[in-house]
Amino acid sequence: MKVLTFLFLLLPLPALAQIEVGVENPREYGWWLGDMLEQRLVVTLPEGATLDTASLPRPRSVTYWLDLVEVEAREREGEVEITLIWQNFYSALEPSRREVPSSFIRFSDGTEARLPGFTFVTSPIRPILAPSTPDQLQPDPDYRLVSTRLNILGFGLSATGLMLSVGLLAFHQAWWPFHRRAARPFTRAARHIASMRGADAGALRQVLHRAFDAAFGRVLISAELGRFLDDRPQFRSLETRLARFFETSNDAFFGRGGSQDLPGEIAALARDLAALERGRR
């Protein structure tokens, strides 16, 4: 039984025995704030296994004073060479030994190996009580004025292009000032009729009939007067006069030459229609 227990304890030993980690640490002394420390490690690979690169330490801020800046792994025959570049941000007030932590890597067969840490001593760059003066600063680099002419030209062209685009869009969408003015056929007809001095009633009637067509959106005949008034109820107050206009028109154009009204009546009706059209009554 004792023998078995002893053998059991020896079981992991062959695996451990196969992995060797050779370390080439940076020097132990003489490091300042901001220095990069390069640690090279050579790890022998277990038989038939490869490095699981996902297990490599990730470049990161390890602690407030230490960054792992770069990790590089090169696999060779039976071994892998790992280069870790650390950066020291420890602002030492006096020489101080800092300890870089160890980390673990894993291989494809599941075995793990420890990458050992190391220590180094970092020191202040200058005496802590030395005064700071401006002449300690590096001189400013020379400067030259950048020409902004091209930028101004580009801005001008862009602004013009923008204005033009907005203008075209406004035209396309019929926004102001390209919006169509409200069609006012009766107003136009009233002006036209007022300018037709001496014309006979038939000619005036035709002008007003065309205005009715334009207002209705299609040719309006007497039988559709009711529908017109339903569509444009603002003219309903003139219903009787409109009915009489169409009736007289039917007589004049399609009858046997019966009743005729005076040109003045047609002009008055056109004026009243125009006033209603512009919402003035």
Partner: protein
């Protein structure tokens, strides 16, 4: 005023229209149009779905007019001679040729009713050309005259198999093609389905008083109407402009959605068609109680008189049912009236 009005024809017309409306529900417009064609002595083609009452309407109108009446059913094997002659074996076992449906009623034949005309072959349609245009036929080696004849025909628009499109010449001789659709009103459709009065068409047609518009007086009335109803110059211009717009929609500046107006119409707005339109508008004005024709009379009969005479280009013909009403509506919307 009108002499025909003095003869009480307007009251008779109103009675006939009321009687027809009482037995044929939801077809007021078709009834008005068919009565107008009676007043113009024009032949009528009814078109519509099956079971919408086309035959009942024609039978009822035939009863209103009275007079000898004959009918034939269109079939694919019907021959032109079947309209003129009836061959049979007499009681002595000898073959005999008797006058067929057109001739059997003699010269007073008032209505010849051709049921399902689109089932008959084109040669049968051809025989109708002369009968409809001249109201004469040659049979038994002599010419027969039918001065009172009016041809009513119907066709259903559902079936295409074993049917023959009416030739252009035959279509042009029909004064109107009147659409008979299912009644729009829900109440009318319910009444037609549930009221037993509408189930027996023979009894239903029998309810219409016979001879309200006596057939032998119609020719004189029709001539009187055409003589006495006035069509002014402005109206003539309107009718002409409408017909021109139908003949050349692009030239009239019409716009029809989904079609190029320049390549829409192939022809067919014939002088005979315009003549029929003028006759129908005068009759419509008379029926409305006027002695002058107004634009609304033209509009009320324009589609039924002109639509079936318009021949569309091959590309547009399959969409006829949509394009033609749109074209006519565009013409109404665009052609100004009154205009100089």
């Amino acid at each position: 005023m009108l002499k025909v009005a003095e003869m009480d024809w307007r009251a008779r017309f109103a009675d006939a229209e009321a009687a027809l409306k009482s037995v044929i529900l939801g077809q007021d417009r078709a009834i008005r149009l068919i009565l107008l064609s009676v007043l113009c002595r024009g032949h009528v083609l009814l078109a519509g779905d099956v079971g919408t009452g086309k035959t009942t309407l024609l039978r009822a109108v035939a009863r209103v007019i009275g007079g000898p009446y004959s009918r034939i059913e269109g079939t694919v094997d019907l021959l032109p001679s079947d309209l003129l002659y009836m061959a049979h074996i007499d009681e002595n076992g000898r073959p005999r040729i008797e006058p067929g449906p057109v001739l059997s009623q003699g010269p007073d034949l008032s209505i010849f009713f051709f049921n399902e005309i689109n089932r008959a072959r084109p040669q049968v349609h051809s025989l109708l050309l002369r009968l409809m245009a001249e109201r004469t036929l040659t049979a038994f080696q002599r010419v027969h005259h039918f001065p009172h004849l009016q041809v009513f025909a119907d066709r259903n628009q559902i079936e295409r198999d074993e049917t023959f499109e009416l030739p252009a010449a035959a279509r042009d001789r029909f004064m109107m093609e009147i659409p008979v659709d299912v009644p729009e009103s829900r109440d009318d459709r319910m009444a037609l389905a549930f009221e037993t009065r509408f189930h027996d068409t023979d009894t239903l047609v029998g309810e219409v008083p016979e001879g309200l518009l006596p057939y032998d007086g119609l020719n004189a009335v029709a001539a009187g109407i055409q003589e006495e109803v006035h069509a002014s110059d402005a109206l003539r211009c309107y009718v002409f402009a409408l017909c021109e717009a139908l003949r050349d929609p692009a030239g009239a500046g019409l716009e029809v959605e989904g079609a190029d107006p320049a390549r829409l119409v192939r022809g067919g707005v014939s002088p005979r068609g315009m003549q029929a339109l003028v006759r129908a508008t005068r009759a419509a004005a008379w029926a409305a109680g006027r002695d002058v024709v107004l634009p609304e009379d033209v509009r009320s009969v324009f589609a039924p008189v002109m639509a079936h005479r318009v021949f569309l280009t091959p590309a547009a013909e399959p969409r006829r049912e949509r394009l033609l009403p749109a074209l006519i509506s565009a013409a109404f919307d665009k052609i100004p009236v009154p205009a100089s």
